[in-house]
Amino acid sequence: MSSSSRNFYEFFGFDRKLDLDESALQKRFYELSREWHPDRFSRKGPDESARAMENTAIINDGYRTLRDPVKRAEYLLTEEGFPIGEQRSKDVPPELLEEVFELNMALEEMRSGDESARPQLEEAREKFVSMRGEIDGQLKALFARYDASESESETAKQALHEVRGALNKRRYVENLIRDVERALNPAISPAQTVEDRL
């Protein structure tokens, strides 16, 4: 996504940090909305209305991106030249290879109506959810390390590199959790599954 022309951090007036104060962000979001929402410009000329709509789209897109730690980190990585890329969820993290193999067998059984796989899947879900929690902890530490480092420095680059690795793993685990949940509750349509965030 090309957003370089309208940087969210700049628009909101925040430093390019990975850790952001959510209540300060929300306050700023409300302020900017009051200033730029198209409702305030409906009786102005078409140029001003169009600009209001453009800016409000940036405000909303930016708020949506920045308030979510995962999306925020992905955004900053892209901005800093560390694109997440397309390969993000294809490669199985080596330490999960064996578990994923077993999980896939259990998922197959469950989907074909074999209820005996249920306890195994429930156990797997619990495990992956706690794994996701661990990754979130790592991310938090990495965010702090990046924010404390000088921009463009080697430490900063190393931190971003590790953030990318953690995000890829998190995404992988997230997809596993989703697959397990769908197999356990096939009645819940995709419209109703909640995308868990940090």
Binding site: S2, Y30, H37, P38, D39, A57, R64, V194
Partner: protein, 617 residues
């Protein structure tokens, strides 16, 4: 004689009206110094039934008049047309079984309804309701109305929103904003109370169900999540009762009423009356006495509740999904606001109370609160309301078709609008000039399970080797929840032309043509009216002339004068039944002129007669 016009200059801006264009009923409201206010018609009625009937001369009438015609002229009358807005023929199979919609055979991506000898699209029918509301408002305000805020169900998709906007344009209204109905209700609800906290708006209307969860903070109304069902409402309860009553009547051995449209409509009225009565009475009677069919059935509340329980249950699933999307539990909801006529049903109230563990607010008139909120939003747009701001969301995810019939999501549901996403496209073949992008709405992963919105054709791409072109396409959902697509060639920076092919709904050209036609019709109507007025005048002068010819004054005219009058009279009669009112007026003027001396003579003889004390006729 000219009338006096006061020019208030730039300072004086005409009112923006707020309209609740409902499935069953519609209302129009405006913001006053004291707050929002519903505008009444000349008879003091606030509610305009969303019913439209086609008169034999092809004109459409809406509201109370059409409601009466629904009984006597059911073949030329439609109701609940909101259910068809923005939908294709294939979508409405279920609807057709329950509603007396007569779909014209040439319907394709837009449904056309047969009313008498003409066909009408749903936006044209809705425009008739809007025109009635506009007329009422203009009469009540004493000034022309040209700009409006119109409410739509929060869960309306792009095509349904576009159809509503088209209806506004066809009615001669510039639609400044489409507002989601539950959000509008929250504006009316939170306006004077300075509410803070998280509220749920449960909006169960005639044909649609919406649930929205909002955070109210310092005048900002931020929608956190919304969900719903655009085909679930009080109509469904009516149809259920109607089906039971029709079966009853059939099983009594009498003549079946199902094939008698008027009988069905009378029975429908009877079941609606019973349904409404059951909201406050423990039992009621459905009764019909029509063409020898005497039907009576006692229905008590427990039975009624058993019958409608599945319908009420269907509203709860979207509520749970909405809570999950807002990442909230029922305990987080501070208050529940009830909107829509169907929330008068006690079972609905109990179900909502049980789900949200909070007593629902019922002190607002559920029929009026949406229109009042629309007027508040109109006030925000005009600048009359300064400190309130609405931040709404898109109800459905937006995506594009990718390889293998899979949808790639670009803007997720419940994103605050305006919202945008940019995606790059390239060519697959050397020298390729076009790229077709298929845009869909919905939450499912496969194209076949989502709602096709439109195909966008990127045209006249510079012919370059495969993979070299880079077209950046921006998808922007505006504050009305409607998609706008623009494209740019990233290599040259120049704007790329995009042709939109909506999957459902009218194209821009079709809307323009309909507006033009309505202008033409308006002109036709005007000509027709002027012709009638001219005929009235002709009648008057012809009658006066004929009378005068029997008067003694006639004899005092020269033969030439008499001949001239006779000729002028025949001239008037000759063009009397034509369609050129100007020509008729000309001939009337000529007759007027020719009879001038006759009139003077009569006047003189009248004076003489008066002096002689004789009575003149």
């Amino acid at each position: 004689m000219g009338t006096f016009q006061i020019d208030f200059g730039e300072d004086r801006q005409s009112k923006i009206v707020g309209i609740d264009l409902g499935t069953t009923n519609s209302l129009i409201a405006v913001m006053d110094l004291t707050g929002p206010r519903i505008l009444e018609d000349a008879q003091g009625r606030k509610i305009v039934p969303s019913i439209v009937s086609s008169l034999p001369d092809g004109r459409l009438v809406a509201g109370e008049t059409a409601r009466e015609l629904l009984l006597t002229n059911p073949e030329r009358t439609v109701y609940s047309v909101k259910r068809l807005m923005g939908r294709g023929v294939n979508d409405v199979g279920d609807e057709l079984k329950l509603f007396p919609f007569r779909i014209a055979s040439d319907s394709e991506s837009v449904i056309k309804l047969q009313l008498g000898s003409r066909t009408y699209t749903p936006p044209e029918i809705s425009a008739a309701v809007l025109r009635q509301l506009k007329d009422n408002a203009e009469a009540a305000l004493g000034e022309p109305v040209s700009q409006a805020v119109i409410t739509v169900p929060a869960y309306f998709n792009d095509a349904q929103r576009q159809a509503t906007k088209d209806a506004g344009r066809l009615a001669g209204l510039e639609v400044l904003r489409l507002v989601n109905e539950p959000t509008a209700a929250s504006l009316a609800y939170g306006l004077d109370k300075r509410k803070e906290g998280v509220i749920a708006v449960y909006d169960f209307g005639g044909g649609t169900f919406d649930i929205s969860i909002l955070r109210l903070h310092d005048g900002i109304f931020e929608v956190l999540a919304t969900n719903g069902d655009t085909h679930l409402g009080g109509d469904d309860i009516d149809n259920l009762l109607l089906r039971i009553a029709i079966e009853d009547i059939g099983s009594d051995g009498g003549p079946s009423i199902a094939d008698d449209p008027e009988g069905v409509q009378r029975l429908r009225r009877a079941v609606i009356a019973a349904k409404e009565e059951l909201s406050f009475a423990p039992e009621t009677k459905i009764s019909l006495d029509y063409k020898g069919t005497e039907y009576q059935r006692i229905i008590d509340r427990p039975l009624f509740e058993r019958l409608i329980a599945p319908i009420v249950e269907r509203t709860l699933e979207p509520c749970r999904a909405c809570l999950a999307d807002a990442k909230l539990t029922p305990e987080d909801i501070n208050e529940v606001v009830m909107v829509g006529g169907s929330t008068r049903i006690p079972l609905v109230r109990t179900a909502v109370e049980r789900l949200f563990k909070a007593k629902p607010h019922t002190e607002l008139n559920p029929d009026e609160v949406v229109a009042l909120g629309a007027a508040v939003q109109a006030g925000i747009l005009s600048g009359e309301v300064q400190d309130q701001l609405l931040l709404d969301v898109t109800p459905l995810s937006l995506g594009i078709e990718t390889m293998g019939g899979v949808v790639s999501k670009l803007i997720h549901r419940n994103s605050t609008i305006p919202a945008s996403a940019t995606e790059s496209f390239t060519t697959a073949v050397d020298g390729q000039r076009n790229v077709l992008i298929h845009v869909l709405q919905g939450e499912r992963e496969l194209v076949k399970d989502c709602r096709s919105l439109a195909r966008f054709d990127l045209k006249d791409i510079d012919p370059v080797p495969a993979g070299f072109a880079r077209i950046e396409v921006r998808f922007l959902i505006d504050a009305n929840g409607i998609l706008n697509v623009t494209a740019r060639d990233a290599r040259t920076g120049k704007e790329q032309s995009v042709e939109v092919k909506p999957s459902y709904g009218l194209s821009e050209e079709q809307v323009e043509a309909m507006i033009q036609e309505s202008f033409d019709r308006a002109e036709e109507d005007l000509r027709e009216r002027q012709m009638r007025e001219a005929r009235v005048e002709a009648d008057t002068i012809l009658l006066a002339t004929e009378k005068a010819q029997k008067n003694e004054a006639w004899q005092s005219l020269t033969p030439a004068e008499r001949e001239a009058i006779e000729k002028a009279k025949q001239d008037v009669q000759a063009v009397y039944n034509g369609s050129d009112y100007r020509l008729l007026n000309e001939k009337i003027e000529a007759l007027n002129h020719a009879t001038q001396s006759l009139a003077e003579n009569m006047m003189n003889s009248a004076v003489r007669g008066a002096l002689k004390g004789t009575k003149i006729d």
